[in-house]
């Protein structure tokens, strides 16, 4: 047994278990006869261990090994955990003592990974009315990168498949041209890599690597908001790629012009190519997504009635649909029972209860009022101006869709109105959703907020 193992045995006995699991367990050791280098996953853990436990560790080692006790130092880094000690390699070590910046093998020197998920391809992307245009544009770009539309800007709510489409384009480009350098990175990843490059004085490498790709896919650009240095760097990267006709694909939760905290010059460039929206999927698409995911992820043929059952109850986004599906499949594997509608209902009981609990008429009124920046009391008042009446009608339609209250009950909850008013409001909103894009969007946003 090596010294560090003996030391952790004692620490495990002497320290409260929580402290051991938080600060000592994640430490990895690299030992030789004279020294132990303890690798902490990050600076925060390193500092904490240094301040709270290093003296104890040193004392323990002295009591175990006496005069032969090895010296102890703390560093940031990690060792591949499942390799044997002989095979182990140290990655990303930054020496903590005595020289803070003496990299053994720094991450920036490694070739830039594509980060493409091979499972995110067009074959596994379920097409529906809500994503038709975005999918078609993405396929065209996959076939003609850099020339069809540049940049492609995909926007829409969370968990609707933006990332899937980006990866699908990337995978298609690489499939057609295996030598193409395609890089997918989340905007936060871009920022983090840039910060590290600045810290380690390797910003030129960073620039060169990002500006030499054939396709750059940046997810969730809204997270660039307020990060001026990153925006500036990305601006130059964008220009370099655009001018050399390399493909750029961006995603965001909203239309380019509406992303706050971004420089105008970036916003305008984001709109140079094609901007496409992904809307929340309709029921039929949700059902198709569920069946497709059940097959791809678990090899399960999900019965239609079960897919419809889940699709009707989980409507906010695809991640939540997948979460529900995972739970049903896990229950089926654990119990060995067949997946029926009753079984699904039982498996999702706690999830559905939590959802039902959340959507009340009161909650709908509050959410709608906040959304339209009016007071809840105005929704319940006799006021008939358009700015009040329209939100009121939307709130009534939402109450009918999301709760089990009767129409008279809904009318009563809206300042004692008649049930025919609720009926009229509901029909009016159905009609407006067809004819007025703004109403359709407001309704979809509110529905998403209330059911997520």
């Amino acid at each position: 047994m090596n010294f560090w193992s003996k030391c952790t045995d004692r620490l495990e006995n002497d320290l409260p278990q929580q402290q051991f699991n938080t600060w000592i367990r994640p430490l990895q050791s690299v030992e030789d006869a004279q020294s132990i280098r303890l690798l902490a996953p990050n600076q925060f853990v390193l500092n904490w261990v240094q301040n709270h436990y290093l003296n104890d560790i040193t004392e323990y080692l002295q009591s175990i090994a006496g005069a032969n006790a090895p010296s102890v130092s703390l560093e940031i880094g990690s060792r591949a955990a499942v390799q044997s000690p002989q095979e182990s390699s140290i990655e990303r070590i930054q020496s903590f003592k005595p020289t803070p910046a003496a990299p053994i093998r720094h991450v920036d020197e490694a070739p830039m990974p594509s980060n493409l998920n091979p499972n995110f391809v067009f074959d596994t992307f379920v097409e529906g009315k809500s994503n038709q245009l975005a999918r078609a544009a993405s396929i065209q770009i996959g076939e003609n990168p850099g020339t069809a539309y540049n940049p492609l800007f995909i926007y829409g709510g969370v968990g609707l498949g933006k990332t899937h489409l980006m990866h699908a384009v990337g995978n298609m480009i690489v499939k057609t041209n295996p030598k193409a350098r395609v890089v997918y990175v989340h905007s936060e990843g871009f920022v983090a890599q840039m910060v590290k490059a600045l810290q380690h004085n390797t910003i030129d490498d960073f620039k060169r690597r990002f500006r030499s790709v054939n396709a750059l896919l940046i997810d969730d650009v809204q997270f660039f908001a307020g990060k001026e240095r990153s925006q500036e760097e990305f601006f130059h990267t964008f220009n370099a790629l655009f001018e050399s006709q390399q493909q750029i694909i961006l995603s965001s939760d909203r239309f380019p012009k509406e992303v706050s905290g971004l420089e105008e010059r970036l916003k305008s460039r984001f709109g140079w190519g094609l901007t496409v929206a992904i809307e929340p999927p309709d029921l039929e698409t949700r059902v198709a997504i569920l069946k497709s995911k059940a097959d791809q992820l678990f090899g399960v043929d999900l019965p239609n009635e079960v897919a419809f059952f889940i699709g009707k109850r989980v409507r906010s986004n695809i991640r939540e649909l997948e979460g529900a599906l995972r739970r049903i499949i896990a229950n089926a594997e654990f119990t060995g029972r067949a997946i029926t509608q009753e079984f699904a209902k039982d498996a999702l009981r706690d999830m559905l209860a939590a959802q039902d609990k959340q959507v009340t008429i009161e909650n709908i009124q509050k959410t709608v009022a906040e959304y339209f920046k009016i007071r809840t009391s105005e929704l319940l008042s006799a006021k008939r101006s358009r700015t009040i009446a329209r939100p009121r009608q939307i709130a009534m339609a939402l109450a009918k869709e999301l709760t089990n209250h009767s129409l008279p009950e809904i009318g009563e909850a809206f300042g004692g109105r008649d049930h025919t008013t609720v009926l009229y409001a509901t029909r009016k909103i159905v009609e407006l959703k067809e004819s007025d894009h703004r109403v359709e969007e407001d309704y979809a946003n509110l529905l998403r907020t209330l059911t997520s």
Binding site: D14, L15, P16, Q17, Q18, Q19, N21, T22, R25, P26, Q28, P41, N42, Q43, F44, V45, H52, N55, D56, I76, S78, A81, V82, E91, R92, N115, G157, V158, G159, H186, E188, G189, A192, D220, D253, S316, N317, R319, E320, E322, G323, R326, R327, A330, N331, F334, T335, D350, M351, A354, Q355, K357, Q358, S452
Partner: protein
Amino acid sequence: MSKQLALGFTLPEKATLESYVPATNEQAVADMAACARGHGEPFIYLWGSAQTGKSHLLQAATQIADEAGRSALYIPLDQAKQFSPEIFDDLEQLNLICLDGVEQIAGDPAWEQGLFNLFNRIREQGNSLLVSAQCSPLSLPIKLPDLSSRLSWGLCYQLQPLDDQQKVTALIEDAARRGLEMSEESAGYILRHTPRDMGSLRQLLEELDQASLEAQRRLTIPFIKAFLQRNPT
């Protein structure tokens, strides 16, 4: 050992898989253990009221991972005020990350952003994440929709508390692990006369263990009754 360490919060008994009574939570526990070993689902969200053993399970998970040769860490987010979101930096390098009490950071933009980034990095890296909370992902007051939807993505279980009969069984098993013999009658007596949450029951068992050792007596009802009269709960 310094005084500061001795004063830290400690569980009366080591939180291991063996010392957890799964009762109706058998499936959640099995999937959690598989996740800790690196099999099965890479992201599991466990939620339930206080005293359903969330901290116990997450701490046990780090030990299971360790035994499987996987690096792991446990973060009690009820102590988030003492930490900073920088504690999440580069954690995706570890094979298993256990975040206990995620409701504690809900609504704090810096922590939410930090967790969102960590979640994405763990997924890219292919490592595992165990999260616990007092409420379901849908009821968590998370403000960042991108994080909220990700927390709904994984396998999610509500942990059910033990009923009184299951607590009796748990007490008897806990006592046996300490080398103490406790009859069903004695355990039932404790349940009828003291606070019934598992934390209090385990604390009492630890005190009874000490008292029975000092008095060289077995855990009979008269002994327990006398102890409770001397040490009212």
